[in-house]
Symmetry: C2
Amino acid sequence: MIKMRCLVRVPNRGGAEALKLFCFRLWSDIFSDGTNGMTDLNNDLFKSIDPARRGTTSEGVIAQLREMIHRGDLRPGDRLPPERDLAKLLGVSRPTLRSGIHSLAAVGILQSRQGAGTFVVKSDGSPSLDANSLRLMASLHGFTTAEMFEARQALEMAISYLAAGRATSDQIATMAEEITGMYASLDDPEQYLIHDMHFHQTIAAASGNRILTALMNMIASILLDVRRKTVHRSRDLKESAEMHRRIYRAIRERNPEEARNAMRDHLTSAQMAQESEEEEEGGPTDATGNGNHDPD
Amino acid sequence: MIKMRCLVRVPNRGGAEALKLFCFRLWSDIFSDGTNGMTDLNNDLFKSIDPARRGTTSEGVIAQLREMIHRGDLRPGDRLPPERDLAKLLGVSRPTLRSGIHSLAAVGILQSRQGAGTFVVKSDGSPSLDANSLRLMASLHGFTTAEMFEARQALEMAISYLAAGRATSDQIATMAEEITGMYASLDDPEQYLIHDMHFHQTIAAASGNRILTALMNMIASILLDVRRKTVHRSRDLKESAEMHRRIYRAIRERNPEEARNAMRDHLTSAQMAQESEEEEEGGPTDATGNGNHDPD
DNA sequence: CCGCCTTAGTGGTCATACCTTTGAAAGCTT
DNA sequence: AAGCTTTCAAAGGTATGACCACTAAGGCGG
């Protein structure tokens, strides 16, 4: 472990000038590193932080952890050192360290389990971005469901286009299974919805672009909340299944244009269906899928 | 403002049982809050929040703040009560409250300024999502620049398609100005880059879909870091400007298909140019544009 | 050999104290 | 009186220390 300490004198405006101890450490390998590669100190390899307010120690912690991730010292599934140790290692207090960890946990990078430890989130299949930030954004700025649908449509059109060119035979087989599942649950809307989602996620995986997949999931998870409220009123599931089959066929036949068009038509139709169902319920058109996670 | 307090007794396992004060308030401008009729179908298909652990007080705080935002009690630009007061109000300690605030700050919803207060982030123009989470994700899972480019291309194609149908004359005029700026700075790559970005953002604004805009900005801010490193080697800016003009013309003439195709060609060409420049530099193809999210 | 129980270890929370920054009010200078 | 400087309270940032709750692994007894 390399420790580097640097004294910076910060002039205070008031008469009382104070010497500020500003120490930051770098460790190249998380626990194992013998070499003491003291480089120059004023080297502000710290620019990862907001330039306007680069003083807060808490953000320094975040920067450090990010650096470790960027370097590859922390990889998905890894466990971080105990907070007390890590705090000492970084030269900050535990609450400060915890703030940083919480921040990283909020964006879905870290995950803490009481009694067990803090872990770098591991990718269950495809990496996913936290949808809460988008959800909050939707509430703050009053995004409409229509806007969400449009975004989803744009993403899924691109995804299905790509998937048509890249899907493996396994993935195509999975799609077929999900469609079979849809037809089998035409009279069970909730079950149908599950197969529907799985189908779309399979396409996303087949697109080979994990970024688009993550973005799609982010939006889909919000729309799902909206959709779940009216799913019991769903009808015309058969028609929906047919459209899914059209998408499937286009992908199987490696026809990107047709896949994109089919997806466009499918989502347009799905949106209209959703709106008509909402109207029936008298529900609003607000996109705030209230996160409804209350402690039982 | 109506405050409602609810005491819940939580039995402790150890000999020493403690009465845990768990109070949550419901704010409402009007007393219109009746029953929250939510049918908790335990569908854990989606992981908005980790289903395993939803009891932590810190997350309770986050839920509270989110609730306030969803309800509209907190609006962009608003200032939160002082931490000490808010902590008492919510019935938690200050460190716990701070954890929640930090988490919300990490996703770009709140912003704290020392000595001033904590504010709900206000949208300067279009709301933007924090790119850091995506950046970390890129590092963790080794996203390639090509993958990023592809995602950007998909988004911008959709955006330009929409923009062709919705751009106002003002927006079109702005686009024209930026293109003029590009031609004027053909010999100044950095300046050119700025006009380039503004042009794309203008199109995004013209698309009328703030979600797609936010997603595009998220990806663009990462690619920007990559691009800045090689921008000084840029050449063929004239060709690039021509392609921008083609996009502009398509939008002005309300031709969505052509706008989309023009954008596709432009970004394909931009990616190839970028790659050839990178190759010259000998730079890697990693998508980890470390840090540097500039505020402007 | 298996299962229950104990026990260290780790994250979660709280309380308190002090420092730094901010912004506005009060006071001084011109 | 206008403008600048000083001062001070308020607010966020950090540190310390303690205790609780949960997890997992190891020891004990059946």
